[in-house]
């Protein structure tokens, strides 16, 4: 009685939706912008797919169309990852509690 | 049972000891009420009003005194009328029994029992008869209103296009019943209020009304068990003096209410202090009749020293006679009910009862 892994993935998907829902409810409005920029950075975990796409097949194939798309996706996602986390960091500097 | 009251000397006493409202209450408790004519006319209470409530009105004092079993007064009636008192009657009032003992003895010789309510013990049950509290409360209020009316400046802070009027500073000396009400009243009006007292408990009380308590360093607690103040030590007096001298320089109005039962009122505002006050400032001394808390205080006179106005009031409630009468009459009513044995329809002088025992002038 093997269960299709899709069912598991789907469970994981649904549970993550709940977590997303809850996590955000408690955010202070002043952190909305950093929050958006961090989620943006996080969503570039799509780079995982991009890497797989880029490296698909043997070494000779790496410049086939599909791989090229992978490489392009890597660049885009990388811009996002670095840009997103760094800019969040910059924004959060502003919220540093002053010393009292 | 007949309750009577004769008009006071309206020159010196504007309060009355039975109001139409209270008369109604007596009557519904089975008493009859007998008063002299024009009893409350000076307060806008016509004889008609009393009649409406069922009171009887006699033209002469004699007739009232002859018939009444219980006589309710503020001050003692003129000696000449003592002869008319009914045998075994009871007289209740605010008679300053210490000073008037001679007169009271004369009344007692007529077999009339005299209860003087300033002798009331300060126990919880007696609160509703406590004329000292009820009258002191109003005095404190009125002293503030009066001095604000006399003061040449406005009291509250006003920031206006034509400049700022800063809030007046008021010092209340003695934070007993009168003092606390004075603090509350001055605070309401927007004054900055300071207060001083020898009882430590009063600090919290002053602050609960938004006043600032002047804390004398190393103050001892000078409260007696009855809740009154003891006389202060010399050291304390010295420290208090320094603190008050310093404070007074910026004070506009001083309300004096400090008393020590059975003693002369403590002298707190000295000549030197007054010198440092701004011209136009006011010292309103409610302790005047017991010697005053301030230098230069003269009973029922207004003294001016270097522009500082010192008002010694002993009869301030004559300026607030309606409210004062209402409370006083209610106090007496509660006292009478406590004396009265309803079942037997007679007065029961139960000497077991602390309230009755202590107020009966012996």
């Amino acid at each position: 009685m093997e269960i299709d892994p899709f069912i598991f993935r789907f469970s994981i998907f649904i549970l993550s939706i709940f977590i997303g829902y809850y996590v955000v409810w408690s955010v202070t409005p002043s952190l909305h912008t950093p929050l958006m920029s961090v989620t943006n950075a996080i969503s570039s975990v799509i780079i995982v797919g991009a890497i797989i796409a880029a490296l698909a097949g043997s070494s000779e194939e790496i410049f086939e169309t599909s791989n090229v798309f992978g490489f392009l996706a890597i660049i885009l996602a990388a811009v996002n990852i670095f840009g997103g986390f760094l800019v969040t960091q910059r924004m959060l500097q502003m919220y540093k509690k002053k010393k009292k | 049972m007949i309750i009577g009251s004769v008009s006071e000397n309206k020159e010196i006493e504007k309060r009355i000891s039975i109001t139409p409202e209270i008369a109604k209450k007596y009557i519904s408790n089975g008493f009859e009420i007998l008063i002299e004519k024009e009893f409350g006319s000076h307060l806008g209470i016509s004889d008609e009003k009393f009649k409406q409530e069922g009171c009887k009105i006699h033209n002469k004092k004699e007739d009232v005194l002859k018939n009444a079993d219980i006589i309710l007064q503020l001050n003692l009636p003129n000696e000449s009328y003592f002869q008319y008192l009914k045998e075994n009657s009871i007289m209740i009032g605010n008679f300053n029994s210490n000073q008037n003992l001679d007169k009271i003895n004369k009344i007692k010789s007529k077999n009339t029992s005299v209860f003087s309510l300033e002798l009331l013990p300060r126990i919880t049950r007696a609160q509703s008869m406590d004329i000292l509290s009820s009258q002191a409360n109003l005095s404190g209020y009125k002293a503030v209103i009066d001095s604000f009316a006399i003061f040449k400046k406005a009291i509250p802070m006003m920031m206006t296009a034509a400049g700022t009027i800063s809030a007046a500073k008021v010092l209340v000396v003695g934070a007993g019943v009168a003092g606390l009400q004075a603090i509350a009243t001055a605070k309401r009006m927007g004054a900055i209020v300071f207060a001083t007292d020898v009882r430590i408990a009063s600090k919290e009380q002053v602050e609960s009304l938004g006043g600032k308590f002047l804390v004398v360093d190393g103050a001892e607690n000078l409260e007696t068990e009855g809740g009154y103040a003891k006389e202060a030590s010399d050291d304390f007096k010295k420290k208090q003096e320094d603190l008050i001298t310093e404070t007074l320089k910026k004070i506009d109005i001083v309300i004096c209410t400090a008393l020590i039962p059975g003693k002369k009122a403590p002298k707190i505002i000295t000549e030197k202090m007054l010198e440092n006050m701004e011209p136009g400032s006011i010292v309103y001394d409610l302790a005047a009749s017991q010697g005053g808390n301030s230098a230069y205080t003269k009973v029922d006179e207004i003294v001016e020293k270097n522009g500082v106005i010192i008002i010694g009031e002993s009869k301030i409630l004559n300026k607030l006679p309606s409210s004062a009468s209402n409370l006083y009459a209610k106090n007496l009513f509660n006292f009478v009910l406590n004396l009265y044995d309803k079942k037997e329809n007679k007065i029961n002088i139960n000497m077991e009862d602390e309230i009755i025992n202590k107020t009966l002038v012996k």
């Binding site: 996080i42 796409a53 992978g70 990388a78 811009v79 670095f82 959060l92 002053k98 | 509250p156």
Partner: protein, 464 residues
Amino acid sequence: MSANLSASFYLLSGILFILALRGLSSPETSRQGNYFGIAGMIIAIVVTFLSVGNFGMGFVYVLIFLLVGGSIGAVIAFRIPMTAMPELVAGFHSLVGLAAVFVAISAFLKPEAFDLGTVGNIKLASLIEMSLGAAIGAITFSGSIIAFLKLRGIMSGAPITFRGQHLLNLFLGISVIVLIFYLCKFQSNNLFWAIVGISFLAGVLLIIPIGGADMPVVISMLNSYSGWAAAGIGFTLENTALIITGALVGSSGAILSYIMCKGMNRSFFNVILGGWGATDQASSSQTKEQKPVKNGNADDAAFLMKNASSVIIVPGYGMAVAQAQHALREMVDALKKNGVKVSYAIHPVAGRMPGHMNVLLAEANVPYDEVFELEEINNDFANCDVAYIIGANDVTNPVAKSDPQSPIFGMPVLDVEKSKSILFVKRSLSPGYAGIDNDLFYRDNTLMLFADAKKMTEEIVKSL
């Protein structure tokens, strides 16, 4: 790397992302949250390398591209002025969307690499997943581009609406679904490209009718889209990290935009459906020249003041009307507990009666030594972090200093504009007694708090 091990690590990185978002929920833990995010990302990337296990030439190229992209990102991150944050985020979204499209294309072109079957013979489920991923990615991309252009000012912020807009959108949506259905049947390249193309168009059409003021909501919504796209691709690639993250970002983005709508008192659906919301907004504001104002809520105000070192309160007639003095006093108490220095600045003609403010502040037991008149305090605004203007208006109007034609010219006014930020509590943009507009409402360092003065102040107390 074994499939099990890498799956575990992907789970770990998903959890780190959850912790990242959680961290961002309060200023104290926010930086830590960012680090969690970074850690999660590093783990995901490294694990991917290890599980692909191909360290040949391709790997080097990947590294190069990664670094190129990363450097670009880093430069942008450091160069961008803080004020351009919203458009930056919008721009970044477009990249994620496009990346998703690219990955989907790549998977479609070379399904074997992903274990999805062979070209022309891709597993049904995977095909649906990847085409959904591509479609949503494309919408995210083009939508974000429009949002970016609007925020950047390259495109007008005004809503662009035309007849039949909603019908057209509906039609596009249905086409995509139909195309996916046929794609599953025929697995033809053209169908796939058509889906992507139509989705690009749909993205544009979805965003153009939304006005500039609603852009933050839109950005968050696009954020959500990018999450769903990632999740779709995640299913295709059978990658837990992508699924968790996608779902997380998808739902949190949606909730966030909902929360933001609520905060702005706008209907979520009006905003998202664009056109409808825009019409009634436009009509009401057409009468006046529409200068943009920054619209804040109680939490923003609480945050700003809590972190200020000094705050000056400027009460006016509106405080009296709202009888907000008690709430104000409470707010000040709470601020002082937070170590903030607070004073009150009373303008000589604030209110409608000489001393109007004094009466009310005294009633609320505000200590006299915290209350200052204009001359005493006017210089302090320059050193103050926040001016909290509660129901005052004319007495702060700088036009009294600059415009001889103005009816209030020559009246001394409180120099609130010198403070670092200005909070204006009033119910609307309408003028005060003198009937003239106040330029301060539109300043960059002004946050308008539109509400009854008492209600707003009470809410701020709650947030403190």
